[in-house]
Symmetry: C2
Subunit: 118 residues, 2 copies
DNA sequence: TGGCGAGATAGCTACCACGCTATGTCGCTA
DNA sequence: TAGCGACATAGCGTGGTAGCTATCTCGCCA
């Protein structure tokens, strides 16, 4: 079981909001496809087909499902996911040759705090 | 005195968050210069020189001051301001040949709500 | 160990955002 | 009414982003 699967959203130390930080977060969110991905990952069980390996709640949704649902090429989807991972908003898990993605709720809460401070 | 100067942030009706809306807001915020402008406009009196015409609290800061403080050309600054105005985050006021800009706190609160819903 | 499938990377093209200079528009004032 | 100052718009060059196809890497399994 994932160590954070049944914890509430962790509380970050109240760090001051940095503009360059904020710019990076908003850049990562400034794409409809990436917003869709984040939305789908809110409920992997409802939004993706059943997975044979990898618990969708624990590890997240399988890369292939996201690629299919986006309807763009696999490399293009891969890059969108990389943008989200680099921004720290999504956590990848490699397992048995597949890669699963899940939301990082802590980082997303921090992003919301940044937006609230604009 | 500004009609909203001593009101709390107005409460918008709870409209559902739309992805294309969200993309537009995040695009407008995905620029360090525009984040700086929004930050400066939080306190026009402290961040800009005293204005001869136009109350900085009521109408906002004078375009010229923003251009100077950004340190870029006047057309470039003008376009950044247009992006913020088009996104509805900043309100322009033309008066006596000058243009003043102030934050739209309602729209900014809505932007924060959008970010919190991602 | 050879083959296959998942996914990242490379390399290309098209497009958009941002900077600049030059110029247009419009209102105020001498 | 001529001139000037504030601001927007036009046009151009450049860098970054998003899409694609082709290819590479690497783990799994027969």
């Amino acid at each position: 079981m994932a160590s954070t699967s049944d914890s509430p959203i962790l509380v970050e130390p109240p760090r001051p909001v940095d503009h360059s930080d904020a710019e990076g977060v908003f850049k990562a969110l400034a794409s409809e496809r990436r917003l869709l991905i984040l939305d789908w990952l809110k409920d992997p069980v409802a939004n993706f087909p059943p997975q044979v390996h990898g618990d969708p709640v624990e590890h997240g949704a399988c890369n292939l499902f996201i690629v299919d649902k986006l309807g763009i090429s696999q490399p293009a989807a891969s890059r969108h996911l990389k943008v989200l991972v680099d921004a720290g908003l999504v956590i990848p898990t490699r397992r048995r040759g597949w890669t699963y993605y899940r939301r990082d709720e802590v980082a997303l809460a921090r992003a919301a705090a940044i937006a609230a401070a604009v």
